[in-house]
Symmetry: C2
Amino acid sequence: MLRIDLAARVPVYEQIANGLRAELVAGRFDPGDRLPTVRALAIDLGVHHNTVAQAYRQLADEGWLELRRHRGATVRERQRPSSRSDLAEPFARPLRELLAKALAAGLSRKLLVRELMDSVRRLEEGAL
Amino acid sequence: MLRIDLAARVPVYEQIANGLRAELVAGRFDPGDRLPTVRALAIDLGVHHNTVAQAYRQLADEGWLELRRHRGATVRERQRPSSRSDLAEPFARPLRELLAKALAAGLSRKLLVRELMDSVRRLEEGAL
DNA sequence: CACTTTGTATATCACTTACAGACAAACAGC
DNA sequence: GCTGTTTGTCTGTAAGTGATATACAAAGTG
């Protein structure tokens, strides 16, 4: 389901939240679906259950999950937020820096273009 | 020149390195060019000079800069690394998670596609 | 040769992260 | 209904990291 890199710079709880958010945005869960309990997922990922709980709480804050004690995490109906163009600015810079890193790491421009076009295709298909 | 966000999650020294790397990859500096001294850039950015020094050292480790005491940081001739396709994998996931965050933050797919296509165009022009 | 400039090294403080362990309350089986 | 288990949460803690402060050695500058 998820792959966690304990040595990565980005915190584990954020890796979990990022991974789940990606699946939620992609619509891989339906409203009402139950996510694994914090302990079950923690064992599955090999981390502490508090770490998973933190990720769940973050996604709950963002409105993706509803957390009720002893009922687990249920996927919430969440209207896709309305788009505003001034939100593109904080996205453009991370993207540019990510591309710079990739180029510096040795990826060719051609390969990067292919990756980006893949993302474009997935986006236009409504997926991620 | 650079914009630093002290409140951001990514460390300041890495923001500096990222920003400079983006300009270096884009070819905005010529080999032999001098970068500002650590103290000058530190004052300009409002951070400690050690923080800038750390960014410079990272870029030097990557081969972008040559650091000689009292001579400042000079931009090195650096052959663009050869591309290998297995390098695309560690790039795809950050990209996907970045897109997911953007979608979750309210960017429309259409807007994201436009940003990505902008990047593609810049890449194909040899810039960034 | 005195003074400034410049990158570096060491120490310190604050913050974050992941974990440990205990807890209260809802659930399951009887 | 009652008891034991399950489940998310709370509090505390040890380790690691980031940014700064400060001192230092050596090259530049007049």
